[in-house]
């Protein structure tokens, strides 16, 4: 391949590395970056644990599920510990290696112990999916194939890590689900029981969203902020809406703003665009949305 001899491979590498090592990227050293592949593997193992029997690798024999799950749990504990140790470097309030190690241990311990609770929540979600969707033939079909349930599962796992103060890792998890399902739930959001997502693709649920129980959401729904002009200065503020119990939001609806509250038992019609609060038991459609939305709105 004599034609490659003219290519200045080494100079190009130096161009790239010159930039890398100095100032373009964050302060973490290369080997300390969280490993996306390992996080993905972690999530896949958690699916095997949470839905035993549904996501086994092909060659698994099944005569003793109990030992296998225990092994998987230990494996998950090992990798959660490793990855948490890595990402705790982003927490500037943890100063010493020893402190970081201790935090990682405590977080791992807490995370593993909360898994049965997460599973119970997800069983309620499976039920909500089955009851809510006339196209669902049975619950197995939902667990094996519904992208909405996949996204909710990853969210519920990642949200536990957010509650334990783990940075970056939860987002890698939910973006993995986002890539697979088209459903983008920020792990910081708070979502109640019996949650149902239909079809999924194009759903966005922002970081400070609060969602009650028995809520149904369809494809293309945005629960977002009204603006991001403030950029990083908005960090930490409530920028996304609150959805109370028993609300249904049809496809393509956008509900924006941190002060916007959709009252319980409301129905938000398809393709509506809502930046003010909606009272309980209200039905909003494209035609009447100006009449039923009330209250101040965030700057748009």
């Amino acid at each position: 391949m004599s034609n490659f001899e003219l290519i200045e491979f080494e100079r190009i590498t130096d161009d790239i590395l010159g930039c890398t090592e100095e100032d373009c990227l964050s302060g973490l050293k290369f080997l300390q970056l969280p490993n996306r592949d390992k996080v993905v593997n972690l999530v896949d193992n958690l699916f095997q644990i949470i839905y035993p029997g549904y996501f086994l690798s092909r060659s698994m024999k099944f005569y003793n599920l109990r030992h296998y799950l225990t092994m998987l749990l230990e494996d998950v504990a090992y990798h959660v510990h490793q990855q948490v140790l890595l990402v705790l470097r982003y927490r500037q309030d943890i100063e010493t290696e020893a402190e970081r190690e201790q935090q990682a241990q405590e977080i791992t311990h807490a995370f593993i112990h909360v898994i049965p609770e997460v599973r119970k929540l997800l069983m309620l979600d499976v039920e909500a999916f089955y009851v809510g969707d006339p196209a669902a033939e049975n619950r197995d079909e939902i667990i094996v194939s519904y992208p909405g349930l996949r996204a909710v599962t990853v969210y519920r796992i990642a949200h536990e890590l957010v509650k334990l103060g783990v940075p970056v890792l939860p987002r890698i998890m939910t973006e993995y689900a986002h890539a697979q399902t088209g459903v983008d739930i920020n792990p910081g959001a708070s979502i109640g029981k019996h949650f149902f997502i239909d079809h999924g693709t194009g759903i966005v649920i922002g970081e400070t969203t609060i969602i009650g129980d028995h809520v149904k959401i369809y494809q293309g729904v945005t629960l977002g902020g009204v603006t991001t002009r403030g950029g990083q200065s908005l960090r930490g503020q409530k920028r996304h809406p609150t959805i109370e119990d028993n609300v249904t939001i049809y496809s393509g609806a956008s509900i924006l703003g941190g002060r916007t509250v959709i009252g319980h038992d409301a129905v938000i019609g398809g393709n509506t665009f809502i930046t003010k609060s909606v009272p309980p038991y209200t039905k909003v459609s494209m035609e009447n949305q100006d009449k039923v939305c009330k209250g101040e709105e965030d700057e748009i």
Copy 2:
């Protein structure tokens, strides 16, 4: 890793399994669940058969395509038979093992023999994609890279299984395509010839939708139900619209309801929201949609 000794792995496993074995999940035993990985593999092999030469694994030599395709077909027959056998357990009208085995054989036989017909339909779709998209440089590019064609291909395969009375399996197939393309076509939908999907992401086509020939659909289009309040009680009813021949539906349009019919040669503009029928040759845009839509609508 002495820090893991405090984690009660076995108790957690028992918590999870306690729930599993009793009442949380459906009646199927673990080993009888359909295997998503094998279904995915099946679909990938069918792509190699239907578009010979385009989706070969890397190291394949090509000097005798005919033997290779025959091998693949046999392989597909074997796995279709196995997976159909599994999912026929969900069909409560099949009572004995022998009956199930016979059904599985008949379905496999019928499915394999319909593949050339499916391929012919897809060649017409490729043509529709090429003619419809000025950005398409040639037909190869469409086959190799267009997500819309990928989604339509998997739909046409899965739809044949629906017609043969196979449960669950078709949905696993189309949800695999959904994850890859963002296009969610329920395998129960009925779609005519020369179908064209542009860009794809966010398209939802519901279970009881009927689509004619020469229809074009853009990203973000929903052909859905008006409500799911009825949940499982709606199962089997026509809940999604009918789209007649030569209709074009631009991006973001929602057409909802089982009684809604879009007449032939109509053009539905972007971001419209339609729950009543539209006469033939009509052009609907956001401004005039109330005027041109007529007839009763399902409860919204």
Copy 3:
């Protein structure tokens, strides 16, 4: 498996191949088709080069990054050369093998040398993502997990190949990104510096779109054509809008037409539907969009 004996595997294969070899597909021979797997691998290697340290395969040791990157670059050069050689067959203006080989060499050389420049552009995009998104904890999180950045990265790589006259290959690259992220940027589009995509899913940016610097785009935005009725006859025409510097386009907005220009510093509200130009410094929302949009529009 005696039940398979009734299946006419060989006749089915012949049905399929009969069609293949004659007239259904393009003129390229099988072995000359571009290999999607290799293109995908190429893109993955380019991620390792452009973001050194973030996308390494698991077992990589890191004590000499410089040699590793140089190896990867050589690898990329080898595969770009091979794939470009294949796809140049689609260019009917290149007539001899020798000419094709020379073009492939020149293109490979130019492509490898432009990589550091692409990386510099992407570092500016990373900055735009960080500044623009209050949910971003740090730049590492963006690089590892944001689908928007992934889509922009693949676009910037593929766009260089478009500029070098390479057919088909760039589209395979961006459709790979599309499948992973739900963001569909045609590699022919022209996009300025400091580009920011939030959430991503459902974004479509058409082939002849022109985008300035410091533009922000949210999920579900379409920058598209008004119609495709002309089909292949429109090939090469400007069919998609022009977005000037500092424009923000909120979720679900559709901006259509080759004559449509969004003036600099404009803000386009969510779910708007725009087919006429918008002056600089204008704020368009669903309520006022008819008032602020002006100029002729393409046939709709």
Copy 4:
């Protein structure tokens, strides 16, 4: 590859298969043949069980050895059962499928329960290797790297299966060890405690050999039959020698014949060729072997 077109692949296949299906091979159907790959895998797993910590696959985490070993044991049980079921077809005294299944279960049960006993015997062998070899730095080196111990380990495993009446399978196991170590111990041989093999290559220990405790054997030693002229008619007869306790046999010695007994505490010198019995406490070298060997010998 037009040059391959002249090759009559299909005729050649038919030539081969014509022979296969009729009369050239044994009566077993193809799919019922024991699978060498699975037997090899079985042996490798047994090494992990018998020498815990020494033969783990690379990525194994070690924080809970107990669960891992239990999983491996279950895995071994599963595959032993499967392979035994296959090879019991060679036992003509087992007539019904049900009988075969029951035998396979009983054999599997007995085999798994004898593993700790096998391990204890092997720990004594490790000790014999360490004490016997001045070149051994420590016991770990022996376990990890000595081919003699590897061969003895596989022999002891396979011999248990012989005792349980399993055909074919034990021989596949010991021939696997033979290929790796050059030591060919027929699984039917009977070998006492504290057995030591140095260097190993070229050792042959025949099917009806009986070896006592504390025996040492060097490379190139044959414990064989004097003739095989009788062929299959000799099947079941004692054709190989008896070696009593505390015998040492140096390299290249051949001890042949079913009536040949090497008395306890004898030393057999290198390259000797012995077909008559040797009394206890005797030292045989090339020079004196005719004087010290006595008794009738099998036909040579």
Copy 5:
């Protein structure tokens, strides 16, 4: 790993390459070396073809053996052609690329067509193994596990390539078998029908050996040259013995020299050392070997 910084990796590489490129190795360029891995793969595929059903990779389905074998044959043809093309560079009598290509095609064609004949020979060998070994339970055991048959199989394959004038490749094949079995048969040797090797390890059969029909050979037997003092000057001379029909050679016997002929129906005892010819029907043992061996011997 700062401690590696002191290692002068690049200087060491240059030391190695300085030697490589100039004068240490043969004249072939790197990329033209025969690929041992591909040859190994070739041999493994030939085992699947010659013993259909015994050496299938695990996941193979078996409902259509005929297509599978044909595919394998084509595969073998492809790789034989490629590797022969490479090694024909060592033949200095072939001068042009075109000549080399034509030779490679003719050789490939002839080799593929001789496979059924090789298989027939091997079926006779299987029979000889079964009849000759009282420890053999059945023919399947021999095919699956006997190293002697493995070595003979590879020899018979490689010998066909020698007959077709292929350099280097046959030796790579037999050395692969040598590594697996301890049996070193030079592919240039000539071996008759019904050949039987027991135990195998340590057998050496030299390049110019001639062996008749119904010959039996035990472990550790050498059929060698008397001296190699002449080195490369002896190339092409008959340096190894001739063994006539129905000869049996017991373990550890050495038969040396190009003029040495073992007459038909002779029996050569264990550990004998023979450099002169032996008449037909003679029985040679360590005691009587000087009396029964006669004729001139090569220089020793």
Copy 6:
């Protein structure tokens, strides 16, 4: 698999582990055992470095050998360092972790720098193989396929580690070669230049053997100790013979004892058994060995 329920997997595991943790094995903890797989990988990489171009993995592109070798060297350095660190635990003279780390660094550094020297020695061996074997068609054939050269290569690598005071690791390396080639060279032996091994299988070269330059050894040769009755008490003593320059030792010869010296230019005939010294220029055959061997011998 209900039949497995009767198997007491957990009790069996406890039986095995009970023994493991307490007293059966050496004092090293599990995770500190040297990893045979990694050592094997190390050896394979060193083959790629020492014979550049001959042992490349299949898919390697070759346009820049220099970078690739440097990468491999770094890789080797990394793993040598890791494995040496592990095995230095067996050295009881190294007491602190810091000391161990420093030793490991120094050893790694020295080992990497001696590689070009090892390669030069091996090039001389290749020459000796070519000159000595009339069956060798060319040097490439020797490098790619001769087991003797493979064994010598691994010996020369491992011997360097012995010289650097590394325990256990060198033996794992040479036993890997032993398994592949049937040639067992203890890494502690000392071997001069231009060494030639023909056929190989069954060769044993003991730990304290000293071999001069231009020595040739054939299959089945033992350079061993006369007795191992002393067991571990003999550790460190010279127990194996000395072979001076230009000696040839034909197949099956045994030369035993630490005081035995084979004088330069001697020829040792096949199947001889020598325990006393042989003067220079002597030719020993089975007939005359008693006359030409002289001097005291070790106890036999």
